[in-house]
């Protein structure tokens, strides 16, 4: 019976995706995936982590339906691989879930064929004949009865004649086979070894080693203290000069602000990588358990704080840039990067305070990155950028807004109606809007997003 579900799912896969762009079809596909996983693994589906990640996966699919952006589609794919990986083993780190999820989706069945041949043989012996009967016999009888009823009722005959199966061709069938391959793969999640076992055996805590030597650690502490003291002095001096330069910055010139932000970002990247590497080097092992490491720890915390201030300064510069010259994808990217850096510094601080190892850092940071990705996919950035620039920013580049995705077509059209623009820009906006309307009209129900379903006649008549 379970295999029937896979056949139905793969048929739906083709109905949803054959020669279609992304829209509500991805949401329906996500629901089908959740049903397949729950039917094949009812016990695992009840586990707390799996429920949470199923909800996250469904949310990401809803975001695709509502926002219809490339980022939300990417986030949904990542959530899909995470969930499939989680069904292979729910106790592994998220990056191992990704590895298991990707591998299960692309070659799970082939792996089982070699790794567990008895499992595959068992499946084939039981199901193949039964499966054929379950599909062929009902189809044959349904067709016979349709032909019988057709002759008995003109209305029924008319309705049957209207059903169009022209969409079924070899490519459609190939896509159905691909869908079946995908669903049969995810129905039996596999684990990549030895990565999974190794990850399960790794703990987050650091332990005192047998080679613990006071003398050796004393020397290492001296080196660390000297190095961090000098680096703290240096970054402190740099921050003072940076604060002074921000106050005297000419914010009326985009090129000056742009250069400042880019220079700041380069400094930030170098500084943060160095900072985290040095901290990880000194606190990689026994120095965490050395009695006289207090000064080194304080210097480390001070350095982290200084780096946080550096992050804040870059944030201010970028925000000045945005206020003066509007939002762009790159400027949002800088803000996101800054936030990730801040989180990285905080987790490094936690690592030192709670005597954790590097695995902890990697696990927590990837987990947070995943959460941020899902959260960011809830927003349509092109729409947000356009809305902010047209209504709040002091100046902006209208050509840039026109080049963004169709998500801002209505906003731009409304704006062009209310303002007197350069005829060239007006023409570009009209073309963009007309293309957008044409695309919507050509879309089938599988490709529509929420805003297209909800699009009013007023919007279409702009």
């Amino acid at each position: 019976m379970k295999h029937i579900l896979l056949v139905i799912a793969s048929l739906l896969f083709s109905v949803l995706f054959f020669e279609k762009s992304i829209g509500i079809n991805l949401l329906i596909f996500s629901i089908i995936t959740l049903i397949v996983l729950s039917v094949y693994h009812p016990q695992k589906a009840k586990q707390k982590e799996n429920i949470v990640y199923s909800v996250v996966y469904l949310l990401s699919a809803i975001f695709v339906f509502i926002q219809d952006s490339s980022l939300s589609i990417f986030a949904n794919c990542v959530a899909f691989f995470t969930l499939v990986g989680l069904f292979s083993d729910h106790k592994t780190s998220i990056y191992i879930n990704w590895l298991n999820g990707v591998f299960t989706s692309i070659a799970g069945l082939l792996f089982i064929k070699v790794n567990h041949p008895e499992k595959k043989k068992h499946h084939q012996n039981i199901d193949l004949l039964h499966l054929t009967k379950l599909i062929v016999i009902p189809i044959v009888f349904v067709v016979i009865f349709i032909l019988l009823y057709k002759n008995g009722n003109p209305l029924f005959e008319d309705m049957i004649n209207k059903i169009n199966f022209d969409f079924i061709n070899i490519q459609w069938l190939l896509l159905t086979i691909l869908g079946f391959y995908l669903f049969i793969n995810i129905s039996e999640p596999v684990q990549v070894e030895p990565a999974t076992t190794k990850d399960l055996s790794l703990k987050n805590e650091l332990f005192k080693s047998e080679k613990f030597s006071d003398e050796k650690l004393k020397k290492e502490k001296q080196l660390g203290t000297t190095l961090l003291s000098l680096l703290n002095l240096l970054i402190g001096f740099y921050l003072i000069t940076d604060i002074i330069s921000i106050q005297s910055l000419d914010i009326s010139r985009a090129s000056v602000l742009s250069a400042e932000v880019h220079k700041g970002i380069n400094t930030l990247i170098a500084s943060i990588i160095m900072a985290i590497s040095i901290i990880l080097y000194f606190f990689r092992g026994d120095l965490n358990f050395y009695k006289e490491n207090r000064l080194l720890k304080y210097l480390t915390f001070l350095w982290i704080i200084f780096n946080v201030v550096l992050v804040a300064l870059i944030f201010i510069k970028n925000q000045n840039y945005i206020t003066a010259f509007g939002l762009t994808n790159k400027r949002i990217g800088v803000h996101i990067y800054i936030s990730l850096v801040l989180i990285g510094l905080l987790t490094t601080f936690l690592k030192v305070v709670k005597t954790k190892n590097m695995v902890f850092l990697f696990r927590v940071n990837t987990q947070i990155a995943f959460c941020i990705l899902i959260a960011l996919s809830a927003i349509n950035w092109d729409h947000t950028i356009t809305n902010y620039n047209l209504n709040t920013a002091k100046s902006y580049d209208l050509n840039y807004l026109i080049e963004l995705s169709d998500a801002n077509a209505i906003l731009l059209k409304e704006y062009s109606k209310q303002h007197t623009l350069d005829p060239k820009l007006n023409y570009k906006i009209d073309i963009k809007y007309a293309d957008y309307l044409k695309k919507i009209e050509e879309k089938t129900w599988q490709e529509l997003s929420f805003k297209e379903y909800k699009m009013s006649d007023t919007d279409k008549a702009l």
Binding site: L99, V102, F103, I106, A107, L110, F111, K113, V114, N115, P117, E118, N169, I170, Q171, L174, V192, E193, P194
Partner: protein
Amino acid sequence: MNIPNNLGKCIVLASIMFWIIVSSEESSEPIFFFVVLSSIPIALVVSATILFTVCPFFWNGRHKNRTNVEIFKMYFPYYSIAIFSLCTIGIISSDFNIYETAFYVSAFFTTNFSWIWFAKEPLTYTYTQNSTTNEIQNKENIKNNPVSR
């Protein structure tokens, strides 16, 4: 390792997959002449890909006295992920051109099946001078009862 047998099966599989996908496009009906002619470049590409990207894993693994299944379990996941990524990039960058899509899809499945056929070959061992009696006994046990692994 029965390389000729593996290559033969892979060439047939790649040719069938390639032409099924290409012929699925209504406008490009496969002409028998082209199908026969295409078997030469397909054979060359398949042989080169398998000899240079799949066989080295097994040669290296055998040198370390690993069984084919052990080699498969250890390297196949990473190999399949890498080849899938490359093929996906190829398909997207070709803008879903039917010939390139057919090439990459058949390349993905052919290389994967090549791994499976190598892994499923009957176990034969070469013992090094350093192999201990226990190692040899263990390998013989595995050889006699491969499924219990």
